[in-house]
Amino acid sequence: MKDDPHLGLSAIEWQLLNAFQHDFPLVAEPYKEIGRQLGISEDEVLQQLQHLHECGMVSRVGCVLRNGALGVSTLAAMEVAPDDIDRVADIVNSFSEVNHNYERENTLNLWFVVTARSNERLVEILAEIESKSGSPVLMLPMEANFHINLGFPIH
């Protein structure tokens, strides 16, 4: 066990980030249990996680749902003029149902994921984005998943 040279993470931080991406203890006092496994106090676990969250490395401690397990979702793509992309990205982001939104290197340059409670709502959101932005949206829904999500190993 050693400190990570890339990020300046302590050994404890590194373990919190790597060893608890799945199998979070489902017990009454989970952070105490994590502390027991790492040989530190519950308070220290809570403080470190709070810190990792505040610095942005940890998005949340919680559940990752199977895609399509609840509600409906789709990947969507748009071709936007480079000098207009901030405006269109803001329109896309204004929907709380949009959870990822990236600029990518392609003529189709704005890529986002929409997840909604119903198909009707999903279609409505995409239509609103089209009408507010003035550009068509390509809808690319998932049909099969070939990857088992075990988290993101940090080397």
Binding site: H6, L17, Q21, H22, L26, A28, Y31, E42, L46, L49, H53, C55, G56, M57, V58, S59, R60, V61, G62, C63, V64, L65, R66, G68, A69, L70, V72, S73, T74, L75, A89, N93, S96, V98, N99, H100, N101, Y102, E103, R104, E105, N106, N109, F112, T115, R117, N119, L138, M139, P141, M142, E143, A144, F146, H147, N149, L150, G151, F152, I154
Partner: protein
């Protein structure tokens, strides 16, 4: 119309998934605090989470990291136009590669976008990601299949899926 399977969850499960979509509280008894908010006991919350995990509605429970903040700044979405009859074989091979983070079959959007098989590869540097794509193509027999590599530029948003309209936030959830 979309063709996506809808998994039935009951009302208690739905209530629970709603309050935890932004994460568990960082408090000594997080499941008790969550239960408080929706009228469930601590042991009910734990039992429901176990049940949803066993049924595969929840894929994993734990720390969700942001790759960019962890130094993985090169992020490529690679897309191929794989003949339909080869998709199961190629998808399985790609999904098993250790550096691949996601591997999905998606509907094509013809004529503009003929690609149907997608994977996500993160690395500290672009060269590392490109090396891994070359390895993947050699290992999975993908060299002759049309593809595009879309590196990410600006990130406008990254958060967990919000299936529910956002309610006033729970205290101290992350």
């Amino acid at each position: 119309m979309l063709v996506i399977s809808m998994q039935i969850v009951n009302e208690k499960e739905s209530d629970l998934l709603e309050v935890i979509q932004t994460g568990f509280p960082l408090s000594p008894r997080p499941f008790q605090d969550i239960g408080h908010a929706i009228g469930l006991s601590e042991s009910e919350v734990i039992a429901i989470l176990k049940g949803l995990s066993e049924r595969g509605v929840i894929k994993r429970i734990g720390v969700v990291v942001r790759h960019r903040e962890l130094g993985f700044k090169a992020n490529a979405m690679v897309v191929w136009n794989v003949p339909d009859d080869l998709v199961p074989q190629k998808g399985k091979l790609i999904g098993e590669m250790e550096f691949v983070n996601l591997c999905y079959l998606r509907r094509r959007s013809l004529p503009r976008w003929p690609y149907n098989l997608y994977c996500m590869i993160h690395g500290r540097q672009r060269s590392e990601v490109l090396d891994n794509i070359a390895k993947l193509e050699a290992h999975c027999g993908m060299e002759d299949i049309a593809k595009e590599v879309l590196f990410s530029q600006r990130r406008y948003k990254q958060q967990g899926a919000h299936y529910f309209a956002t309610k006033p936030s729970q205290s101290q959830t992350i």
